[in-house]
Amino acid sequence: MVPVLYYLVLSAILFTMGAMGVLIRRNALIIFMSIELMLNAANLAFVAFTRTFEKLDGQIFVFFVMAVAAAEVAVGLALMVAIFRTKHSIDVDQMNSLKG
């Protein structure tokens, strides 16, 4: 089996790409997808550790992370639809006022 270190490095690379996506993209939907990518990278590290230490707790935690991600996406996309309704754009640069 491949050393756990490789999985951790891959997880770090994916996490960094997600962080870069949040920083460079202006489309709010793609920023959301980048956040999902980061959550996924963290999950990969969790599962790698589960395999290393032979304890199942990490897999349970991945399960909870998925539930939280689902909730986050539901609320976040609802927010996006609400913002689009008033601003007619989901460019994050346009979201610079609290009301209206």
Binding site: R25, L29, V47, A70, V81, A82
Partner: protein, 171 residues
């Protein structure tokens, strides 16, 4: 080079490539489809790491439910291509520098300050199967599991309230 390592390298390349495709594609639809591929490769990693239940949950919840929701909203908003807005000139270089800093930091920590001793022994046969996961979930983690249900309920109510039209609002 063992077959395991070859498989790992191929899948890692696929995962990084699809993540890069998501970052760079101009259209949100393509980005979402790249992300689906990325989730699928990560699911195969889970299979390699003896986590079959998590792998299938990944496919059904992430690649299935969450990405379908994403695609639905992208098509609902019909704004898959944003007009070019003016960007701050220093933003992109700064983002790349910060990301490079993050990756150098984490890889340094992993390679040189790492104290994890990898035990790659033989696992018990039932490791990570739905039965043992279920046992764990409903014995040791029952309270967090119940709280998750409340969280999902709150998210559902929140989504409904946020997308509802306000009173007196005209379409």
């Amino acid at each position: 080079m063992s077959i395991d390592l070859l498989l790992f390298l191929f899948l890692a390349l696929a995962a990084i490539g699809t993540a890069a495709g998501m970052l760079l594609s101009r259209s949100a639809i393509y980005a979402a489809l790249f992300l689906v591929l990325n989730f699928a490769t990560v699911a195969v990693f889970y299979l390699l790491l003896n986590a079959p239940f998590i792998a299938l949950t990944q496919i059904t919840v992430y690649a299935g439910a969450i990405m379908v929701l994403f695609l639905f909203v992208i098509m609902l908003l019909g704004a898959e291509k944003l007009p070019k807005s003016k960007v701050l000139p220093w933003q992109r270089p700064l983002a790349v520098i910060l990301a490079a800093g993050l990756i150098v930091e984490t890889v340094y920590l992993l390679l040189f300050k790492n104290t994890i001793t990898s035990t790659v022994g033989k696992l018990v046969e039932t490791f990570g199967d739905p039965r043992s996961i279920g046992g764990f979930l409903f014995n040791d983690y029952l309270l967090p599991f119940e709280i998750t249900s409340v969280l999902l309920l709150v998210a559902m109510i929140g989504a409904i309230v946020l997308t509802k039209k306000e009173k007196g609002e005209k379409e």
